[in-house]
């Protein structure tokens, strides 16, 4: 048992922290800045910054040196992510770093690796995951987007939605149907699509907390055959396997800890009825509870990282609760903090009289829907099914059941 880090690891941590602290502009506040729909100047800053980090290897410390990384293991990767998380920043190419990149590493051809990985490691390319469709939310296998092979190209048609990005993407990591099969999972493939390919159009839609997400429309989009990732019709399984990389995030709890640390300072400085907020019994209990929640999230994330580092030498666990705790905490904490702030709670960042720079209000709005990688319910189903071995109604009954419900509607 060892909950600490080696000296070498601590050195890496310190170096990464120093780099981030030195490079992030002192007037940047991660909770206040819009973070979506960036201006030209903001875009330029983030791309420049990402490239700098890439040069240092901090984007992909766990990748081999050949693929542009530092050749470290999962623990070191977790350390850098933790430090990055603590700054509160977001990599413009988060999808590429955590999802598309690892997927190319595992399922890509040598050519694909050579072509796509350097851009990710060096921070020059922006990737977006484009999986969700209007009818494929939690039921991701219900892909309606089609990819039909015509000569040397796959031709894509369909719509993707709820795509989050900070910066105009260069590539889309996308799912499309390549065969009509039953079950549906077996006819889906993964494609690496140049984002500026003719036939692709983008439309922005607003989300709570002043965010935006994209609708992406494919209309006869020609994707070179060699941009198929992995096996034909095995895309769904590849994608699920690659998700494993997304889950073990040490960054989220670090980010939450930054916010709580700032909130504690705020409570120390701010008086209510002549008494510092921090002296209030309710506030004390509330803050202490949140600190525990975050610590749990941290430990659970590190357990997953550690397991990953021991791959093959441990019995499979079947579940990872990081997403579970992340969703619970990121929903409840803003609520709790906002309650402490009384009428001031509703002031947005930038508003006159806004307390604590309106950070909480923003988080509160975002928390109305914490569904990246599925709802909390999906996490629970995974824990219960894969983790505990509880039975589940086999998917093949669904249609039968659905049909049986129809007559009642008459």
């Amino acid at each position: 048992m060892d909950f600490g880090f080696t000296e070498k690891q601590e050195k890496l941590r310190k170096a990464a922290r120093e780099f981030f602290l030195n490079e992030m502009p002192e007037d940047f506040d991660p909770d206040v800045e819009t973070m979506f729909s960036l201006t030209k100047e903001q875009t330029a800053f983030w791309m420049k910054f990402q490239k700098k980090a890439g040069k240092k290897g901090y984007l992909t410390p766990g990748w081999s040196k050949e693929t542009g990384g530092l050749g470290y293991g999962p623990i070191e990767q977790g350390i850098v992510e933790e430090e990055w998380g603590f700054t509160g920043g977001r990599w413009p190419n988060a999808s590429g770093l955590h999802i598309a990149g690892p997927a190319v590493q595992v399922f890509g051809t040598e050519e694909q690796k050579k072509k796509f990985l350097p851009g990710i490691a060096q921070g020059t390319a922006i990737w977006n995951q484009a999986f969700t469709e209007p009818d494929a939310g939690s039921d991701e296998a219900n892909q309606k987007t089609t990819a039909v092979l015509k000569g040397n190209y796959y031709v894509l048609n369909g719509q993707k939605t709820f795509i989050t990005t900070l910066i105009k993407p260069d590539y889309l990591y996308t799912l499309a149907r390549t065969a009509e099969t039953e079950p549906k999972h077996q006819g889906i493939s993964l494609f690496l699509v140049p984002a500026d390919a003719p036939g692709i159009t983008y439309q922005a839609q607003g989300t709570m907390g002043f965010g935006t997400q994209l609708n992406i429309y494919y209309k006869n989009v020609k994707v070179p055959k060699e941009n198929l990732l992995g096996e034909l019709n095995r895309g769904f399984y590849h994608a699920m396997a690659a998700f494993e990389f997304e889950r073990s995030g040490t960054g989220n709890p670090a980010n939450a800890k930054r916010r709580l640390t700032e909130f504690i300072q705020f409570c120390k400085k701010t008086k209510r009825n002549g008494k510092p907020l921090i002296k209030d019994t309710d506030v004390r209990k509330t803050v202490a509870k949140m600190a525990i929640d975050i610590e749990i999230q941290r430990l659970i994330a590190w357990e997953a990282v550690w397991r990953h580092s021991q791959k093959g030498q441990l019995p499979p666990k079947g579940y990872d609760l990081s997403g579970f705790f992340n969703k619970i905490n990121s929903t409840q904490h803003p609520e709790t903090m906002m309650h402490i702030m009384g009428l001031y709670g509703q002031l947005r960042s930038g508003a006159k009289w806004a307390k604590f720079a309106g950070k909480i209000e923003r988080r509160w709005q975002v928390a109305r829907s914490v569904h990246p990688a599925g709802t909390l319910e999906v996490n629970k189903i995974v824990v219960a099914g894969r983790g505990l071995g509880l039975p589940r109604i086999p998917a093949r009954f669904n249609k039968m059941i659905a049909e049986s419900l129809q007559p009642k509607k008459k």
């Binding site: 009818d135 607003g206 906002m338 009384g342 009428l343 709005q365 669904n398 419900l405």
Partner: protein, 431 residues
């Protein structure tokens, strides 16, 4: 006991719903949220024509003489439609205070103009120092001074979170005119022309985009005639109307909650994933069942307070329960909706749930949040007398130490005896 509305009330509700569905579609609500003013004078005029603005005023003041229940029915429908209008500010908080405490002249002059939509009023009450918690709605929170100066008074100070001040013709400013022995002594209500020199209004950017403002009074002169009610004694009528406002705000949240429930259930029935409507999932059913429980509980607590108010029965407890519960319950209801609607409910350009969520936040805090009313409630219930004592002859058969209570009936006795036997055996064994 009667949980239903009268036929006339039901008719009013139906009319209101039909009117609002036509005149206040979601599109308008969204536009008004994003708008700088957030107010449609055209719609306000239509409300006046419907008779809603004077609904609860006596006919002599241009009103329709409706009951408090009528008012609640309308407010519930407004909540359902999220009507973006200064109704609570103008008609309830200011208008009813004038009706309650104003002179005949003030009533005759002002109420008909409110009723026909010519005047918008805004209550300037809460202040920066008190906005942290419940003090905002207590007399302790009033520190903005009005000092006599000849025949006039001069007001100085800042009010915060003043709803609808930016479009108001008059501000009902709650000011301190003396330091009394008790905090509620020395509070006076001034009806101030919003265009008076020295007043500046700045809209605050809020969650709901509902146009609350900072209002600064800098040496603002007001005449003695502008006092509503009695000098120094403004708290009592104001408090009374704030309570009414709080209950009507609850009715508003009940209407909103009901609509959120309908949207959510509809989504659960029509959204298909894994070939089945998602409502077949117990996870989704769980959210929906809790959503019903939130809306129903808020509804009956609110209706009870509404009824008691309309009957002029004492109802401090019921008011406090209604607002303490409904404020947070409505937020929970919206949250359940978000869990079911997921991404769809998060999207603001077309989605309607974000509008409910954000406005729910404002309603939760307006006129006192749950902490404020829980404390009020506690002040009531700590005075509850203990239950009356039983008066029957003491029998001495109840207070028998356990282990000596030999059960009467065979199956019970057998179990009891077995336990006793085991105990004895163990004791023996130890020796």
């Amino acid at each position: 006991m009667d949980f239903s509305l009268t036929e006339a009330q039901e008719k009013l509700r139906k009319e209101a719903r039909a009117f609002l569905e036509k005149e206040c579609p979601e599109r308008l609500v969204r536009e008004m949220e994003e708008d700088d003013e957030g107010f449609s004078p055209e719609l306000w005029g239509k409300l006046a024509k419907m008779g809603w603005l004077g609904l609860a005023y006596p006919e002599e003041f241009g009103g329709k003489g409706g009951s408090f229940i009528d008012l609640a029915v309308i407010c519930e429908e407004m909540g359902r439609a999220m009507l973006p209008a200064p109704y609570l500010s103008t008609v309830v908080l200011c208008g009813l205070t004038i009706l309650e405490a104003g002179s005949m002249k003030q009533k005759t002059e002002l109420l008909p103009k409110i009723a026909n939509g010519e005047r918008v009023l805004s209550l300037a009450m809460t202040e920066p120092e008190s906005s942290w918690d419940g003090t905002a709605w207590k007399p302790e929170g009033i520190t903005v001074r009005a000092t006599p100066s000849g025949k006039d008074y001069v007001i100085n100070g800042t009010k915060l979170f003043v709803h609808d001040a930016h479009i108001a013709d008059y501000l009902l400013c709650v000011a301190r005119t003396r330091e009394g022995k008790k905090p509620d002594d020395g509070i006076t209500l001034f009806l101030v022309d919003a265009k008076s020199p020295g007043i500046s209004v700045e809209i605050l950017d809020t969650t709901a985009g509902d146009k609350q403002s900072e209002v600064t009074f800098k040496k603002v002169k007001v005449s003695k005639e502008s006092i509503i009610g009695t000098l120094h004694k403004g708290w009592a009528p104001l408090e009374k109307i704030i309570k009414k406002g709080a209950v009507l705000l609850c009715a508003d949240m009940v209407g909103a909650g009901q609509r959120v429930l309908e949207i959510t259930v509809d989504h659960a029935k029509t959204r298909v994933q894994f070939d089945m409507p998602i409502g077949i999932n117990q996870y989704v059913q769980d959210h929906c069942a809790f959503l019903v429980s939130e809306v129903d509980s808020s509804r009956w607590l609110t209706y009870q307070a509404v009824w008691k108010m309309s009957e002029d029965l004492p109802c401090e407890t019921e008011i406090a329960m209604a607002k303490a519960w409904t404020s947070d319950s409505h937020e929970r209801a919206c949250w359940r909706g978000h869990q079911v609607l997921a991404g769809v409910g998060y999207e603001v350009d077309r989605g309607v749930l974000p509008l409910f969520s954000r406005r729910g936040k404002a309603k939760q805090l307006h006129l006192g949040d749950s902490d404020f009313y829980l404390e009020k409630l506690m002040q009531e219930i700590e005075q509850w007398p203990p239950p009356e004592k039983f008066r029957g002859k003491p029998l001495g058969i109840f207070d028998i130490p356990r282990g000596k209570q030999v059960p009467s009936w065979q199956p019970w006795k057998e179990r009891w005896e077995e336990i006793e036997k085991r105990k004895k055996e163990r004791k023996k064994k130890k020796k």
